[in-house]
Amino acid sequence: MGRSILVTGGSGYFGEILAGDAVANGDRVRIFDVNTPAATTPGVEYVHGDVRDREVLRAACDGVDVVLHNVAQVPLARDRELFRSVNVVGTANLLVAARDAGVSKVVHTSSSAVFGIPEANPVTEETPCRPLEAYGRAKLEAEVLCREAVDSGLDVTIIRPRTILGHGRLGIFGVLFEFVADGAPVYVLGSGDNRYQFVHAADLADACLRAAGRPGPAVYNVGTTEFGTMRETLEALVDHAGTGSEVRSLPVGPAAAAMRGAITSRVVWGTTVERITTVCGSALVRIACPISLATASTADRSRAPLARLGVPTQTSTALGGPATTSSRSYAMLGCTSSTRLRFVAITQPPAAEGGNQSTCAPRASPLPASALDASLADSADTTRSAQASCRCAACPRGFARAGRRRSDAFGR
């Protein structure tokens, strides 16, 4: 019999994937969330509750071996009080409940927002955390609580994911997809040579579950191991879409000044996009979004920690071969001439594969840790294979067909 796992935030986008993968691993899963899961999965128990409610949380931790803590107010919440009460105090509630219940392991999903804009890339686990906005500060404060809980005897591992993409979650690219679908230009700041890293939701789930199985507290940055510059990423996107969009450069000075103004006013980039949309209309969004991306260059050196976790990092880039590619309906939105993957966007799964719930499609056979070294090899072949199976319900081509459904969530 597997472990008894509590997935807080298990009805959320990432939590559902995580819960599904845990069930596939043979674990017993209990979801704790304010929202009911979108679908009933056999073997998954649902507990309705809010992390701010200590009593309910205490009951939810009863009999649990492992807690995967994912409840968080995302940056779009724009509510400092919620960031504090949910992300900070809620995490403290969880840690205390887990410790009191005798939970043997907590995996806390933090965020690379704790780094702010680092002085040097790539960041490592030793890079000083200098968050720029309220969300990042709250996530960092939650990490401090995790460390205090470790000092008091609880085994807590912190996972810091880069921006999450996955089925139905286009993150910051959701906005861009609209422009590309319209054939409108997209902009980069200057040459667009800043590198921007994502993590695939399935890979993140894999990392969390591996962290859950590894005794002893640790901190891991988790992101895809292969990624390109912003220009390369966007060019791959528009090339693939074939809608006539092209990538254009904006002069660095004025655009950067505008962004500095936004940061000074403590507005995170996602919020900037929204506010500018409200005030100035969509034309400016086409500028603001890539500027935001351009100035928010953060790249994790995630291979080493992934290796320590035994994560087959190949799946971060090429998704592990035709079987997993098929089951998850991945679509590669572009490769360079060297065939190394630069950007992975995830489509809505085709209707034939069962709609949205296939986001929790179980991994056929996770790679054992011993397979790690081999999995770090260049994934050109699987990339080509995956590209050949592209079905782009949510990429710009398919996006237009699907009536411009937009991802409703920005990454962590």
Partner: protein, 344 residues
Amino acid sequence: MSSNSHAASVAVVTGAGGWLGQNLVRALAPRRERVRCLVHTPDEAPLLEVVGPSVETVVGDVRDPATVDRLFDTVDAATVFNSAGVIHPEGRTRDLFDVNVGGTQLVLDRARRAGVTRFVHVSSNSPFGANAAPDDRFTEDSPYNPYLAYGQSKMEAEQLVQRSHDRGDLATVIIRAPWFYGPFQPERQTRFFATVRRGMFPIPGPGTNRRSLAYTGNLVQGLLGAEASDAAAGGAYWVADAEPYELREVVQGVRDALEAEGLPVSQRQPRLPAVVGTAAAALDRVLQDRGVYLQALHVLGEIKDTIACDISKARADLGYEPATGLVDGMRASVRWCLERGERI
């Protein structure tokens, strides 16, 4: 000399979510069976309980008898650290008396009924005002000369504690701590750092007036000494860093600490005519006489003064030895801010 005869297995801490309280709870938690903490808001409870399984919290107001009853529920031969207090009330001075005096009376009463073995009360320099001359230092024999409403409230609280001891109700120790610095600092201290960093902190006059400061880690050692020392019962002690600092040294110490932690610092030092501090103090007095409190005015009016103390008696009776000096303590404070993403 100190002894460990009074290191109780149960500690009760009021004001546990505050600046000093958070430091104290973290020192107590690993070594006590139970640390019963009074916190003011529900959010403070889990943030303290994370520290360790020995930490128990009671949420409520020290002015509320039912809350203080719950604080002492199932508590008997414990040590009480009474660090609840208001130093900068919001708008009106009334809270100073309700909390600092009324709250202390309630805690004394419940502690006596519970059978508490030692009552360590956190007081202040304010019951003694400012030193009369630049080289003076307060000792335990200095007469009361309370400075405005806060000083009056802390003096009255001291008198309640002392009477409790004199009646034989409780074995009390009063610890008089000046200006704190250290981890778990409130926002106002972070603002102080930020103002110094940007070269905007004004010093009235030459800045040679002396101030005793108490690093929170040192102060915690003083409180633990007050709990453990047989000789301390019924006494009052000044607990601070080893020596007072000139005000300009304090500001420079903050600069040095910020730079040592990798933050660029402006070396600009704005000066104010000494008369500005005097005028601020006069206006502060007029307003407080009418029950009105303005924090910035109060701080400006007090910063010009020499407030220095002699810690010889604490050294002798409590075994107190301040281990941390100004720059190291300020560095720990800066690190604490940076570790939490606080902007300085």
